[in-house]
Amino acid sequence: MSMKKLYSIFKQGIIFDNPLLMLMIGLCSAIAVTTNVSNGIGMGLAMTFVLLFSEIIISLFRKLIPSMIRIPIFIIVIAAFTTMVDLVMKAYFPDLSKSMGVFIPLIVVNCIIMGRVEAFASKQNLASVIADALGMGLGYTWVLIAIAAVRELLGNGTLAGIQIMPASYQPILFFILPPGGFFVFSLFISLNIWFKKRMEASARNRELVAKKEAA
């Protein structure tokens, strides 16, 4: 497996196949935790960890998993890693664990992990699975942080709990509440689609130019 191929798998998750903005899965917990930047970072890292290790285990054992009972086995593997993250966070990052509340245990039923394990990890070898998990995890994390930054700054006047806006700024509560979450989310989705189209257009242009030069 060449490095170039691995890099192209890794890059998919960040913009082109971004789990939140293009595949649009796992949105519920994403909208719920993005009220605060530190929650966004914590959730992104926890999710990347679970995604990475679940994909590795599933990929390693993919030949031993009978297809009839693959879903229960996937859930067992994902649940085990999620519980580990939950315990470790409770033990070493109690404040973060407290502010994330129920959303860490809910990683188990996050469609992103289920989707990647079913669609990718159960068919691919170890190296591409690691590239995919890191790409998807990073894609998930950057979107969470960006959305959380917009919502927290406008809705609370702070970033990661630090006051940024002047004291006279009246926070727009709308952005912290779920409707504001949907609003910011849809803005990011359209931005991402616009960016993707632009990139595709410039790639086509380059191809045309190359063809012409060759001719």
Partner: protein, 221 residues
């Protein structure tokens, strides 16, 4: 077919037992640290509620009258043998599962303070109950739990009447208020039964201390 089923079952069992074994290892590693964290949190909160206290003596015979709300621990708070009040660690149902609060009651039959020990709720909404920067009264900077400071148990403790609810989290606000009220009532019944009350001359000095401490006024009516 039957053979298949047994084989599938065995495979599933194998995966489940491997997952269990690895979880057990992680649990064993983190248990000590988790227990230590909650103990540190409890001691720090007790100290916060009663800054002049020198001893917290556990009480065993204080049980909750409500089967849904449990008292995990209760302490008689003392400063050099003089009683200051009671502190109750109470767990009850809330919006996102069980919530554990530490409720301090002073000798004047009012709330000395409330701290969150464990709470599962929606981040940004119900979770604001434990946030030190979420104010139900923005001008006076009173937090949701802060509004109970110095509140007398003879008050009705009704959300949207004498208790200000957290925005978009009325169920959580109600459940937490109920836990506080129940723990407070039980503590007062206990104090009456054991005849723990403020001695006339000591009471004045203890009083001054709590007043200076409880800056945010209650009564957000």
């Amino acid at each position: 077919m039957k053979k298949d089923m047994t084989k599938l079952g065995m495979t599933l069992m194998l995966f489940a037992s491997l997952a269990c074994a690895s979880l057990a290892v992680v649990y064993a590693f983190t248990k000590e640290s988790i227990d230590k964290q909650s103990e540190i949190q409890l001691q720090a909160s007790l100290k916060e509620l009663f800054p002049q206290a020198t001893a917290f003596e556990p009480i065993q015979d204080l049980v909750s009258p409500d089967p849904n709300i449990k008292f995990e621990a209760a302490y008689e708070v003392k400063s050099d043998m003089a009683p200051l009040g009671l502190a109750m660690k109470a767990t009850g149902p809330s919006y996102g599962g069980a919530a554990t609060l530490l409720v301090g009651i002073d000798l004047h039959r009012s709330i000395a303070g409330v701290r969150v020990m464990a709470l599962n709720d929606t981040p940004g909404l119900g979770m604001n109950a434990s946030s030190p920067t979420y104010y139900v009264d923005k001008t006076k900077k009173v937090t949701f739990l802060g509004q109970f400071n110095e509140k007398f148990l003879t008050d009705p403790f009704e959300v949207k009447k004498d208790v200000v609810a957290i925005t978009a989290a009325t169920i959580s606000s109600r459940s937490l208020t109920k836990i506080i009220k129940l723990a407070g009532d039980a503590a007062i019944a206990y104090m009456d039964q054991k005849a723990i009350s403020a001695p006339a001359e000591n009471g004045a000095s203890a009083d001054a201390g709590t007043d200076a401490n409880a800056q945010p006024q209650a009564g957000g009516k």
